[in-house]
């Protein structure tokens, strides 16, 4: 199946008086129709810039991209009729009601008035906004706004849905609700490009993940592929007495057979455990026999946080501002 998104060598440079920020530094992307790509990275990594280029809102300085074969720079109108975009900041009109917003965007998407009304009703139903349909959006909660924003992106039944940090700023319950909604859309066969700074979110929703950092894609694969890059499961032990750290370390080395790391601050020892749960049982027995008191012990799978740390050498939370003091990944245009 041909790729719905095909982008290669995308470069975007933001110039200011003093400095030059390479927001994108050669990004290649291919997303087959019917799949979900998660673009994962910290603030300022270049996720939003990538999305804005693919959504025809921004022109790349180099490279090119096509959506279903239509060039985003040369054929923006064709691209726009294929995509639905839901951004980081809920871009719906605060002073219109939910149903007025959807009708307006439907009409601008070239639906006839009756069609736009019907489609709006359908989406209000689907996104649990029926009760709020005639209220102005100003009175909506954050989660409701996001759902309306997503509904707006879907009004024209796009072949490609682009969601830029769909759950940033939502409370945990709204986030789970949003995930359900997105999973539902994916089940219905929409192709999805999703950006997120939450590793868990990419893990939950995406078929393939591309990790972005400093304008480059530094790794790609399934969540499992990425996790296996940092090794398998690991055992974490928190010892009660600092004095028993050395004994504990020796024990772990013998049972698990790998390099142990020790975090002074949390008194936590970490060791790769290739034997999984069996190793854990052995470790618990040996600690007990040796009389080493422990506060906590766990077998943990690597998270994408570990992946990120391993790949970039820094954690996922990065500086919010670029060199020129502008919100980095944001709406610089």
């Amino acid at each position: 199946m041909p790729d719905l998104i095909a982008a290669s060598g995308l470069v975007k440079i933001y110039k200011s008086r003093k400095s030059e920020v390479r927001a994108l530094d050669g990004v290649d992307l291919n997303v087959p129709e019917g799949t979900v790509l998660g673009l994962l990275g910290p603030n300022g990594a270049g996720k939003t810039t990538t999305v804005r280029i693919l959504a025809t809102l921004l022109k790349p300085d180099a490279g090119h991209a096509t959506i279903a074969g239509h060039d985003v720079v040369r054929e923006p109108d064709a691209v726009r009729s294929l995509i639905g975009l839901s951004g980081q900041y809920a871009a719906v009109d605060e002073n219109l009601t939910g149903s007025e917003n959807l009708w307006l965007f439907g009409r601008l998407y070239r639906l006839r008035s009756a069609e736009a009304h019907a489609r709006a009703d359908e989406l209000l139903e689907q996104f649990d906004l029926v009760d709020a349909r005639d209220r102005v959006v100003k009175t909506y909660s954050g989660g409701m706004r996001r759902r309306l924003d997503l509904a707006s992106a879907l009004i024209g039944r796009p072949r490609l849905l682009i969601l830029d940090e769909p759950t940033t700023g939502l409370d945990p319950r709204s986030r789970l609700g949003m995930w359900d909604v997105i999973r539902g859309l994916v089940r219905d066969g929409v192709t999805l490009l999703l950006t997120t700074q939450y590793l868990e979110e990419a893990d939950e929703l995406a078929d393939m993940i591309a990790v972005v950092d400093h304008g480059k894609i530094i790794a790609r694969g399934t969540a499992d592929d990425l996790k296996s890059q940092v090794g398998g499961e690991r055992i974490e032990v928190v010892v009660r007495d600092r004095a028993s750290v050395e004994a504990a370390r020796e024990l772990l080395a013998r049972d698990a057979g790998g390099d142990t790391t020790f975090d002074e601050h949390t008194r936590k020892l970490t060791v790769p455990a290739h034997g999984g749960a069996q190793t854990l049982v052995q470790v618990v027995r040996d600690f007990d026999d040796a009389g080493i008191h422990i506060d906590d012990i766990a077998l943990r799978r690597p998270t994408l946080d570990d992946v990120f740390l391993a790949l970039t050498g820094h954690a996922t939370v990065a500086d919010d501002l670029t060199a020129d003091g502008r919100p980095s990944d944001g709406r610089a245009a």
Partner: protein, 276 residues
């Protein structure tokens, strides 16, 4: 707002047709907001009424009209003109606000006409200003201001709206060029204050220094005000026999056409270059 019966994407709809439809849709959206933020219109009207009261009762007594005449009759056309000039601020701030709230990004990601956001904005702001003018004209009548005839009133009203359209395009361009609403407010008033006050709106030009008189006389705000005074039979003292003084209506129409011819394309170009 008719759409041909075509495919779902309405591909056969002509470009011009969809530009008009989309412009009307954006205009509809802007107008829908007005009753939902009534403060905007209320304060615009109150501000103008405040100027009327201030000048009629406080400053007016100190401003003699060359050739005689009642200051109130002199002032009202100027107040209408001033209101329309200030309206550019509302347009600009509305535009900047839409950009900052991401609505413009939404519009730009839709397969809609690319000028519709601007034509819709200018169209709806003219309608909005028409509403404000009606309230002010009624207020003027209550205060004792009079015009010569109804046709003259209608002609003057039409000229005001034509001028409002020009101010809207200026406002759109300003709004597209400022980064935030706050900066917008500052910049706009720096632009609008000289246009408004170095004019014949509040004071006859005779009192201005000679070097400033030509600017004030040819200032579009002055020519508009002079046009209204002439049309309505309100006192309209002139300082020279220049075209601006003798044919203010013609000059005003010329100004409107010129400014739209400049700022219309500039605004559209700026809007399109947002993707850079």
């Amino acid at each position: 707002m008719t759409a041909n019966r075509t495919s779902a994407a309405g591909a056969n709809r002509s470009r011009a047709g969809s530009a008009v439809t989309d412009g009307l849709l954006v205009g509809w959206r802007n107008l829908k907001r007005i009753p939902r933020i009534p403060e905007l219109a209320i304060f615009a009207i109150l501000q103008s009424i405040m100027f009327v009261l201030l000048f009629v009762f406080v400053f007016g007594g100190a401003i003699p009209i060359p050739g005689g005449g009642d200051y109130k009759q002199y002032l009202m056309p100027g107040i209408f003109a001033q209101t329309i000039v200030f309206a550019a601020a509302t347009t600009a701030i509305g535009m900047t606000d839409d950009i900052n709230k991401g609505i413009i990004d939404r519009f730009r990601s839709l397969p809609m006409s690319r000028t519709a956001v601007l034509t819709g904005r200018t169209f709806s702001d003219v309608i909005y200003n028409a509403g404000i003018l009606v309230v002010l004209i009624l207020t003027g009548f209550i205060l004792g201001w009079r015009v010569e005839s109804l046709p003259a009133l209608i002609a003057g009203f039409a000229l005001l709206l034509f001028f409002a359209y020009r101010m809207a395009w200026l406002g759109v361009w300003l709004g597209l060029n400022v980064p935030t609403v706050e900066v917008g407010q500052q910049v706009i008033f720096i632009v609008l204050f000289p246009i408004t006050f170095i004019s014949n709106v509040f004071v006859p030009l005779q009192g201005l220094p000679t070097w400033l008189q030509p600017f004030a006389e040819w200032n579009p705000t002055s020519t508009l005000t002079a046009s209204l005074r002439q049309l309505w039979g309100n006192p309209s003292p002139v300082i020279s026999d220049s075209l601006a003084a003798t044919q203010p209506i013609l000059v005003t129409i010329g100004w409107v056409v010129l400014i739209i011819a400049i700022f219309g394309p500039l605004g559209v170009r700026r809007y399109r270059s947002m993707s850079r």
